[in-house]
Structures are given as structure tokens and as C-alpha cells.
């Protein structure tokens, strides 16, 4: 089969593929449909037991957040999401927003990170209601933190990934999830339970 045939069949498969993610009415008509994406498009750079690379990123709420500021104080859960105004991402953080007690019950803070800029994140997260956790912009240098964590995809978006870092700054859990699906909350909670309070 020639290259034209391969391209056409690929396009048809893309047309017929439908990602199941149960979209919320809250984002009706606001979501850019990306179709089914390559599940993972990055090369791991970190593993459980590694020291988490430090970073300081601007927050939607103002100011900056520095990872090392939580050292000896709190466990940190980092939630990388691919992009604002896309499926799945828009129905991920609102779920975390109703389980603040689970995070605080394990002495953990959640940091949401996207490669979008602050104005975009402001508009997008505003649709989610008031979030209890900081939302950080890894926009410039573009995706630099995602890259250091090995979750920057080839198109400049981030993977849908979870990192759990203990109070000593050591990575205790990594899940670079299939970008088309939410990471199982059950697993995140189970990983938090394994941490020392």
C-alpha cells in the first residue's frame, strides 16, 4: 500500500475514534475536541526514589510557588494536565476540588500544572469554581518543568501525569497516565496512604 493509502486510513481511524470521557455540561461548547491522542508521547527522566527537581512557577492566584518551600512541611502531589479547554483535563481538577480533606488528611498539598499561560488558566479554571489548590503555569520557558519531569510531549503539551513527593523531596509515586483518560483517584489515594504523615 502506498503512502497515500496509509495517510487516508489513518485519517479515517481518527474520524471513527471516540474517546469516552463523559464531558461536563459546565464546559459545553467551550471544549476543543482533540480526538483520541497517542497515549504517552514522552520519555521518562525520573523514577521513584529520585530527588524531585525543584521549580518555581507563577500561580493563577498571584505570586509564585516553589516546590522546595514545602520541604519538611508537606507532601506534594503534582498533577500535570495537557492543556486548558480540552476534554478530560476539564473534568479532572474539579474532582480533586471536592477531596481536599483526603489530601490534607495525608498532610499533602496538590499543585496543578499546565503549560498554558496565566490568562488562559485564569479563564479556564474559573469555570471549575473556586479551587482550593494552586494552579501553576509552566508556559515560559515553555514546558520547562514538564520537560525536567520527563512529561513534555512532542507537541509542547504535557502528559497527564501524577507525581507524589514526600516531605524530604523524594519522589514516591509516578503515574504517566494515558492522556485520553483520568488517572485513577483510587491509586493516588492509595499512594498517599503509604506516605508517612
Amino acid at each position: 500500500m502506498n503512502k497515500l493509502g496509509v495517510v487516508i486510513i489513518s485519517l479515517v481511524l481518527l474520524c471513527f475514534s471516540q474517546a469516552a470521557y463523559a464531558a461536563s455540561e459546565a464546559f459545553q461548547d467551550s471544549i476543543y475536541q482533540v480526538g483520541k491522542l497517542k497515549p504517552i508521547d514522552s520519555v521518562p527522566k525520573l523514577k521513584v526514589g529520585d530527588k524531585a527537581p525543584d521549580f518555581e512557577l507563577p500561580a493563577v492566584s498571584g505570586g509564585t510557588v516553589k516546590l522546595s518551600d514545602y520541604r519538611d512541611k508537606k507532601n506534594v502531589v503534582i498533577s500535570f494536565v495537557p492543556a486548558a479547554w480540552t476534554p478530560v483535563c476539564s473534568d479532572q481538577w474539579p474532582g480533586y476540588n471536592i477531596v481536599e480533606d483526603i489530601f490534607t488528611g495525608h498532610n499533602a498539598i496538590l499543585l496543578g500544572i499546565s503549560v498554558d499561560n496565566i490568562p488562559t488558566l485564569y479563564a479556564w479554571t474559573g469555570k471549575m469554581g473556586k479551587l482550593w489548590f494552586p494552579v501553576l503555569s509552566d508556559f515560559w520557558p515553555h514546558g520547562a518543568v514538564a520537560d525536567r519531569y520527563g512529561v513534555l510531549r512532542s507537541n509542547g503539551t504535557a502528559e497527564r501525569a501524577i507525581f507524589i513527593i514526600d516531605t524530604k523531596g523524594i519522589i514516591r509515586y509516578i503515574n504517566v497516565n494515558d492522556i485520553n483518560h483520568r488517572p485513577p483517584l483510587d491509586e493516588i489515594v492509595a499512594a498517599l496512604k503509604k506516605l508517612k504523615p
Binding site: 502506498n2 493509502g5 487516508i8 485519517l11 461536563s24 455540561e25 473534568d91 483517584l185 489515594v189
Partner: protein, 197 residues
């Protein structure tokens, strides 16, 4: 089939699919939409089995196995901001049914958490103090049967208790006035054509 004809067929299929997407009607009020394929886990709690009139005690059950009456299904997602926003109103809706002697034994309400694990459904139940039965649809089986619904979504069915049902309502979105919504559902159903107010 020659390679050329094969490619022409593929292009035709792709164009047909694209035109179907463009012409798709909004997913509201899909009367007679089949939901016969929906299977839910039989609740362990005998009180819920009694509420639904289920004779089976284990495994799965279909909608047709529920006792005669009016069944309202809330399609929700723990992660959906609007589902969270409207949860107290849905609770009030349920309370209106349970406290009205005309409705208590004839109108049932269940929720199905699409894309949610039992753990996530339980979080939603506890967070919003939901008293009516909730079921999980972790594998999107229900969601894929319904197709294109946004959460929250409400479905109204009349069940004859003999395995068949009639759908009289299917609509995206929540409601601001539980009493008005209940009366609208009752009026549209054959059981209470004049409503109760």
C-alpha cells in the same frame, strides 16, 4: 477490489461519517432511545434492592428488572463541576419524592456515575450526602450506550415491571427549582399527566 477502489471507499466512508457528525441533533429529548443494554451491579444493601424491587441478590440487573413505576436516572460524574453544583438540588428533588405519599412508592431515583469507579462514586455520595442509590459506570458501558450526553443528564422512564419501559424524558443539564422539575417530569409521564401541584 483494486487499491484505487479501496481508497475511494475509505474516503466515502470518512465523508459519510463527517456529514453525520455535522448533522447530529443535540442529545436532548431522545424519545424511545434504547437503554436496554444498560446493566448495573446488584446493590449489596438489601434496602436498595427493596427500593428498586429487585429479586436478584447478586450479579447484574437490567432496567427492565426494576419494579413498575416511574424511574428517574441522573447521569453524573464526580469530576463534573455542574454535577457538584446541582447535587444539593437533586437531593431536595429526592426528598420531595420520598415525603409525598402519592409518589413515594411509585417514583424512583437513581444516579449513575459515568467513568467513575466505586471509590469515586462513594466520594460523591459522602461529599453531597446523597441518599438515593448511586451506581458506578467505571468502564463507560452506560455512557457509551447513551452516547453524547453531557453531565448532569436526566432520563425519565415508565417501567411496566414486565421487562419493558418507555422513555419520556432525556435532557442535559441540572435544574434550579426541584419542585418545578419534579412537576414537569410528572406531567410528562403517563402516571401523573396533570402533575401533583
Amino acid at each position: 477490489m483494486s487499491q484505487r477502489n479501496f481508497i475511494v471507499c475509505i474516503i466515502a466512508l470518512a465523508l459519510m461519517h463527517a456529514s453525520m457528525l455535522g448533522a447530529a441533533e443535540p442529545p436532548e429529548l431522545k424519545y424511545n432511545q434504547t437503554i436496554g443494554k444498560i446493566k448495573l451491579a446488584v446493590p449489596e444493601d438489601p434496602r436498595i434492592r427493596d427500593y428498586l424491587g429487585l429479586k436478584v441478590k447478586t450479579g447484574q440487573f437490567g432496567i427492565g428488572q426494576i419494579r413498575p413505576g416511574l424511574l428517574i436516572i441522573q447521569i453524573f460524574n464526580m469530576y463534573c463541576p455542574h454535577c457538584q453544583h446541582y447535587a444539593p438540588r437533586v437531593n431536595e428533588f429526592y426528598k420531595l419524592i420520598q415525603t409525598d405519599s402519592r409518589l413515594k412508592d411509585r417514583v424512583m431515583l437513581i444516579g449513575i456515575g459515568v467513568g467513575n469507579s466505586p471509590f469515586e462514586v462513594d466520594i460523591y455520595r459522602k461529599k453531597f450526602s446523597v441518599m438515593f442509590p448511586l451506581f458506578d459506570d467505571k468502564g463507560y458501558a452506560v455512557y457509551n450506550t447513551l452516547q453524547d450526553v453531557l453531565t448532569p443528564h436526566f432520563i425519565g422512564l415508565i417501567l411496566d415491571g414486565k421487562g419493558t419501559y418507555r422513555m419520556f424524558y432525556s435532557k442535559n443539564g441540572g435544574f434550579d427549582d426541584p419542585a418545578a422539575f419534579l412537576n414537569e417530569m410528572l406531567k410528562l409521564s403517563a402516571l401523573f399527566p396533570g402533575g401533583i401541584q
